[in-house]
Amino acid sequence: MNRIGIDVGGTNTDAVLLEDERVRHAVKTPTTPDVMSGIRTALARLLERAAPAPAIDAVMIGTTHFTNAVVQRRDLSRVAAIRIGLPASASLPPFVDWPEDLAELVRGEVHMLAGGHEYDGRPIVPFDTAGMREVARRIRASGIRSVGITSVFSPLNGSCELEAEAILREACPDVAVTLSHRLGRLGLLERENVTLLNACLRDLAHSTTRAFVDALAASGIRAPLYLTQNDGTVMLASEAEAYPVYSFASGPTNSMRGAAFLSKREDAIVVDVGGTTSDIGSLRHGFPREANGVAEVGGVRTLFRMPDLLSLGLGGGSLVAEEPPAVGPRSVGYLLTEQSRVFGGDRLTATDIAVAAGLADLGNRGRVADLAPALIRACVARMHAMIEEGVDRMKADASAVPLIVVGGGSFLVPEQIPGISEVVHVPHQAVANAVGAAIAQVSGEVDQVFQGLTRDEALAEARRLAEAKATRAGADPATLAVVEVEDLPIAYLPGNSLRVRLRVVGDIAARP
């Protein structure tokens, strides 16, 4: 099986060709403003090296394009928000906790209708279908092309959202519709926020996916195209374009998954040392541990599948202060090769310290020969302490685990760390992201409250539901395994209520 993994980052577009479990070729090219030509260049160079061109079974692309659009407030569409749940939750309408500048760009129309469900599946009140017809007419008149629909307790019962979509489609057959129960977890505001973020990215997702498909066609590759998701799994591009939010954190996820694959370790801490930050995550069974709580994207509170990451203000470009000795969080970033001392500049960076201390062999070592040994020692000690503390924070328990190091600034990581069994450096670490994309699998997840079942029955039912979801998404059912299960008894609710979160993953089903 030959798979191509591509990582479209802010600076570089990387591509790797994976033959079964082996990295055959890897290339790194600059990301282009149109995205597409950068991918074409990367693919052309990759295929050139692999000549004669092998048959490719699948292409996986990971991108930070959609997160960047939200953070930078660009290429976002105006959307209509529909909330179903009145008379409940009336005082906190959609967009209530968005940063005002982003809300101004995205908030087209806001409609709130009677309906929704209780925690036990009973309706709060009957769904106001007449009101929904009127809303559909207004949306048609407004010319808005993307709609986000959120109903109270829809993760337990999505029927109001489905009915609203059907009514909307009668009036506006062409609008893009995002339903909250397909995206998020319990927590109305956060799920609605994810839904509306997704809705405002639908146009961009469509045009970007188009560019990916065109780039692939132009390079002559005939293989299914997948987009990688926050949790290290993939969706067919044709389906993924409806869920751009699921790729928000795919960059760090792919980097961690790639690190696991390249080091052949399933349970470890991973540190990715870049130019400005070090991102630390925790791998369990080869997948990143998920963040439990609220994660902010561009200032919006969200709650969905995201890796738990700790970002430290320490990278190869971090600026060093001499009096008193301090490192970061300010950084020269991608200007490292122009501005740092060893590369001929006049700014003192973490990289300069590492070269002076003999930890790295980069640029002109003579340009840091004048640094005081005491300053070098103090800065190295500070950097090592930051990484040690960060690594320890991300550990799930006290037992010693391996630490996998990737990224351009990996020489900042000490070789001995308390609580770490070994520090592992991997081949191809500079393209770990693209490798992580290439190896992605398909997942299915359930997060639901079960009542009147024993714990074992509830877990079995959750597993059945998750496996069905994964199979629908393209997984080979024979390869599905549970990678995460968590159950939380719910205070105050009667009848043995148990909230179960369970996730299965499997390989992509072989294509005929």
Binding site: A90, L188, L189, R393, A398, V449, Y492, L493, R499
Partner: protein, 362 residues
Amino acid sequence: MSTTSLSARQIESLALGAWILGTGGGGSPYHGLLNLRQLYKQGARVQVMDPADLADDAAVAVVSTMGAPLVMQERMVDPGPMVESVRAMERYVGRRFDAVMAVEIGGSNALQPCQIGAVTGLPVVDADAMGRAFPEAQMTSFAIHDLPMAPLTLVDVRDNAVIVARAASWKWMERLSRKACVEVGSIAATCKAPRTGRDVKECGILYTVSKAIRLGETVQAARAAHRDPVQAVLDAEGGRRLFGGKIRDVERRTTEGFLRGTATLDGLDQDRGRSFRLAFQNEFAVGWLDGRPVVMTPDLICVMDAVSGEAIGTETLRYGQRVVVVALPAPPILLTPKGLEHVGPRAFGYDLEFRSVFAEAR
């Protein structure tokens, strides 16, 4: 009657301080805060009054939201039913209220009187009946003083209203109202037994709204000055740092409608090599240092993020968090023999003789 208008900034501080006083429970005040931010934008203001200014025969509404925290994440609490629970009580007892107060200053219930006050103009009394958060209806200073538990009104969003006219005991009040609450979706606005100005002055826990605001301001000021917010809270409130460490294990279970469980912490820095165990029943109840009980309810046991000073709830405890466990002094009424019957360790099923962290310090 003189009142003070709370600024938008004080509302933010109140929410932050109330979450700390929630001692792990009480629910996050985030939604109430969002609602108040909106009401403030529309020009509404919350008036707070000194309990000393209450006339002896003034009528005070005591309010809270009853329900499951998980349900509150989906069905957010609106001021409409909160106000209606108060109006329903006024109609039932045939008298208008002069002021409104929280039964519980810890967690989301701290903001409920403010939401009602912002909408109706009723002043909010600077007091509550717990001085923190507790899981059960009889765990209030009013119950400790044997004030009557009935009547109670319970209102939902659909305009259903239930009045519990009498209850044979606090236990019965809890059973009857809980049943009604579950039926309307495990979330309802309630107005507890009305209190007179004299009741509040003699049996309430006074100045807890100001205390929560002050706590919030302490944390905000420390963060702005890049000082340690946990230490700032300890200094300002006369609290004690009990343990600093990392959460190693969390075990939760639901029994009799409560979230119970334990969390185990491994020490860091000056506590390296020691371990701390916390037991919780919605709120943190008892803490053991190396197997020896060192802190117990009703002393306030707060778990705070070691860096941000943000309070951490029993539902959001998780592996790997760096936390500091601190104790804050409990209101004196809770430390009396009668108070300890209601809220001491035995009331939570721990066969321990109450010993205050602060008694030890003296």
